[in-house]
């Protein structure tokens, strides 16, 4: 660094290296200063208009009182206001009346997808296609009845299947006979021996004299091609169900079949919507 400044008139900082390499103190360019002041003005303006500085328990609110969450809530309110006419009608009508109203049921069909996806599709799959161990909702075979009221009751109150385990009361041969009888029923085959056993062992008490099930009890229709519990070998599946029952206490191999109640989780209007939505899958009666 030079002790004597050889360039005294140019306003350098006095830092000079290698004889003539020196540091000047020119002001920043005009455009830069303008941008700098504009940024400061922007920050002040922003602070005046929007919430900005966090305080101990609160924050500066800004003149407009805008917050991101209030903007979100307004947008939600806007959507709800749009839906309100239909939602009001749904609240005022029974599920059956909603079904009869083309416009409302079209609204439910369009808007019910989210509700179904959140609450139902985990077990019953999108479109009510069903999963292993969980019933198909798109078919017309209903354990607890397929009218709109019955579907609504099932969603609201839930269902718990019930069948005694027969491993202790029936011999293995009897279970074989009964299983092949009911599998045969669904294929339209007659089996007098099986039929006699079906009646003598009082299966009809739950499944009915015609083996077509009773909606009041939730007993399965054994004569159609649809099985509540499906396996690759339907005969083996039927044997297991007869031997170990459904939700039978103390039987490790029993079938589990429980639909939770949704009346505490969903509003009544939402339950009506879901009833209509499920009904419209194509299996409602």
């Amino acid at each position: 660094m030079s002790e004597n400044n050889p360039f005294p008139d140019e306003g350098n900082t006095g830092h000079i290296w290698d004889d003539n390499l020196r540091e000047l103190s020119n002001p920043p360019p005009n455009w830069w200063m303008m941008a700098w002041y504009a940024s400061i003005a922007f920050v002040i303006g922003y602070g005046l208009i929007y919430p900005m500085i966090p305080l101990a328990n609160t924050f500066t609110k800004g003149l407009t009182g805008w917050t991101a969450i209030s903007e979100f809530n307004e947008a939600v309110a806007e959507v709800e206001a749009m839906r309100k006419p239909n939602e009001d009608k749904i609240a005022a009508k029974t599920a059956k009346e909603i079904l009869a109203d083309d416009e409302l049921s079209a609204y439910v069909e369009a808007s019910g997808k989210v509700l179904f996806g959140d609450n139902c599709a985990a077990c019953h799959a999108t479109g009510g296609a069903g999963n292993d161990g969980y019933p198909v909702l798109a078919d017309d075979d209903w354990l607890y009845g397929g009218t709109i009221e019955q579907i609504q009751a099932t969603i609201a109150n839930g269902r718990k299947g019930m069948m005694t385990a027969h491993a202790a009361t029936l011999s293995e041969a009897e279970i074989d006979t009964l299983a092949s009888y009911v599998v045969g029923l669904s294929e339209g085959k007659a089996d007098e021996k099986g039929k006699a056993l079906f009646q003598s062992k009082a299966c009809f008490a739950c499944h009915g004299m015609d083996a077509k099930g009773m909606a009041a009890l939730g007993s399965a229709n054994l004569t159609d091609g649809i099985w509540r519990f499906t396996e690759a070998d339907q005969l083996a599946s039927a044997k297991r169900t007869i031997a170990h029952g459904v939700n039978a206490a103390g039987d490790a191999e029993t079938r589990n079949a429980e639909m939770p109640a949704f009346k505490d989780k969903l509003s009544e209007a939402d339950i009506k919507k879901m009833a209509v939505y499920v009904y419209k899958f194509g299996g409602g009666k």
């Binding site: 296609a129 078919d139 075979d141």
Partner: protein
Amino acid sequence: MSEKQIQEQSLEELYAEAHEHTINVGDVKIHAKRMGGKFRNLKWASNLLWIVFFIGPFLRLGDRQAILLDIPNRQFHIFNLTLLPQDLWMLSFVLLFFAILLAVVTALAGRVWCGFFCFQTVWTDVFTWIEEKLEGGPAKRRKLEKAPWNSAKIIVRLKKYSLWILVAFLTGMSFTAWFTDAYQLWVDFFILNAASTVYITVSMFVVGTFFLAGILREQTCFWLCPYARIQAVMIDDTTIVPSYDVKRGEKRGRILKNKPAPEDQGDCVDCNQCVAVCPTGVDIRGGQQEGCIMCGLCLDACDAVMEKINKPTGLIKYASWDGIMGKEELPLLKRPRVWVYSAILMVSVIGVTLGLSGMESLELKVLHARQPLFVLQSDGTIQNRYTLKVLNKMNADMNVIISVDKSEFKGLKLLGAEKEVVAVHGTVTPVTIFVKVPKKNLTEKSQPILFTVKGKDSDGNEYKSNRESVFIGPKR
């Protein structure tokens, strides 16, 4: 007057303006001289085509506008034809047609579009015509430009600008009228009842037209329009363009009083008339260039001079570079470009024709439900769910009946199509239906199935549309 006097006088006239007209480099305003002639008349005739733009929206068809581009309702009415967004693909063929037409015309005859049809050229022509009527010829206009702002200048400028704004306003209104009811537009506009988009569009057109045709003029062709830049790759030595016959014209030289021309002097007398009349201010004698919009006005000017000095016309003429240089020119039909361009033109014409002829007033689309693909029902049938989308392109709602071809499916049942469906006009009506077929009658995992929608309009004309989908069953 003696013959010599006449000659002297006309010589003075001939060169009187020669120094005033310079080649356009963008720093001065071009004031082109107007003179009559073949191409000038042709230009007026082609300008007149734009009348369609102004009166088109006022044509009626029954109780509606004959041509209405109805953006809010997403439909275009072109006389009896109604186009919905579903028909948009045809637009790509229309655009292809015009793009290729532009290429063909440019390859064969240069910038015919620029010189005779382009709105920039036409509007500038009208604007400068108004200017000339009010302010006089190029020399007077140049003088007025430099003159101080006195009352006379203010008045003449006010008149000019008002007329320009009037033309610009009519342009904006006419443009807007294509998109809404034209008669109602004029009423609504003045009782301040029109949509804000109308006012925005019209004011944008007023500003745009005034600025582009009044102020910017030929500079638009030079600096804004991409077409000037790509023309160089579209024309070649065989393209017929306004050209200066170099062989005949050079070496150019002025006619001097009482002095015979030197022996090597060509026919160009260097009067600068071709530059004087050029609306973009280029010198055609420099050869083909980006500023030349090929309007042919310099041909008129040069021919007039040639006639005056008793020389054959056509020193500037429509000719190809090969023609000027005396090379043999291939006939049109032997040029590969002509064939390639014509083939593409044909494709686009066929595309639009097929599209228009195949357009149905009633259209059916079938969406097979994705989940579940099929459902086994308790009676042993397989049920498939479909969403049918019925598009009604007519002007009135129509009751339609949905049916399905049962011939391949024994025992098929169609649910949800018992009632007639109201197909709302100008939109798509969705209908959910179910098809049931006994499992034992299915032969394949997936079989084609044909849906039909049928209806009659109020005049009793029958409409029908088919659509094939699939019927899906369990694995065989």
